[in-house]
Amino acid sequence: MKLKGWKELTPGAVILEAGNSAEFKTGSWRAYRPIWIKENCIQCLFCWLYCPDMAIIVKDGKREEFNYDYCKGCGICALECPGKKGNKAIKMEEEGN
């Protein structure tokens, strides 16, 4: 992406296009990657509720894979996930391993 020069900017850094955070991919911040363990998932959607970004994809009321473009690896989903019978449905793994 070509960055704008100072003559092309909006005064005061006002963002005129609402809802453009989709363009800002926070996934590059991630040091730990959440892994979904499907067999332990009870579809409570706590992860979707707690995720501070839009990294949990929900389709027809069911959670699907992570969208890693927006997952900054904060680990909140893994902490909140109740899982099945004490077995978490999300685990965090260090990136690059």
Binding site: L3, L9, G12, A13, V14, I15
Partner: protein, 392 residues
Amino acid sequence: MSKVVAVTGNEAVANALRQINPDVCAAYPITPQTDLMQRFASFVSDGLVDTEMILVESEHSAMSACVGAAAGGGRAVTATSGPGLALMWEILFVASGMRLPILMPVVNRSLSAPLNIHGDHSDAMGARDSGWIQLWSENAQEAYDNTVQALLIAEHMDIRLPIMVCMDGFIISHSIERVEYLDDDVVKNFVGSYKPLNPLLDIKHPKSIGPLILPDLYLEYKRMQHEAMSKVKDVVLQTAESFQKISGRKYGLFETYRLDDAEIAIVILNSAAGTTKDVIDIYRNKGIKVGLLKPRLFRPFPYEEVGEALKHLKAICVLDRADSFGAFGPLYTEIVSSIYLTKSQPIVINKIYGLGGRDYMPEHAKIVIEELIDIINTGKVRLYKDYLGVRE
């Protein structure tokens, strides 16, 4: 018809604010500004303005509320002094960075410690790099006139920057002087209605304000702010021209007094310029070619114009009513920079005076003029930075 009245500086500026009739005023009391805002609050209570008055718990909040109001799309004003301005510090940069044309009279006061409530320029000089436009005023009339002109400058679509109108605490804010008020209608027409730029309350066009800007763009936004500042000079002059049409009073970027043929000169801000002009007359009668330059627009600083006005001189003393400990006073460094650009080399000395409201008397101007005469006669400078009227 304009009206001639006998009022204090605070009263004159409060009256200008009444005539401007801003949408929002958020303020917190601090001496010597208290009486200004108290008067304006009475106008609100008496229904003489449509302003929403927000009484906040600190100056930090006052400026924050102004930022919110201005971002919402309203014309916002406040006023403060000394430590109050210091407490606003963080939000001053938010106001200018977000390009919000907020108007703030600053009734200049010293900073603690030691605690002192009287007039000096430490407050506004400390805020000189905050991205605010600064107009300085010698007396109540200039404070009134600058307040009326301020919004036309700040709200200009090429500018959109906040503006301070400075006047000396107590010396001007609390002394009664002759002031000519313009008619309410004349001021109303002159200031015009407020045109917001990208306001939040334009709910059909939702937007985000105050975003995080990372190293890849921050420099560009700051460069843009400098560009807006560099256009202020012209707008100040255009505004002064239209103001002259309604008032008959002439303003520029600075005022000169008997400077054209002078060999020595004093550069000084605000109320002390009046005293200095009187002493200059005494010396002119003795055949000494002395003059004065009094800056009006201090931010942005008109380096080229000031340099042109001063380059023919042999010796200059810049008097600062604010100190930079271990360095020259803030006005001195600007004057030296201005002259340097002209390649001319007059001797320029610096005197710190009047801190914490210490009176500046005619004998102080005399001491300075005598020293400048001595400098051009001997070519020798005793001290480049010294204190005027300080006891050993």
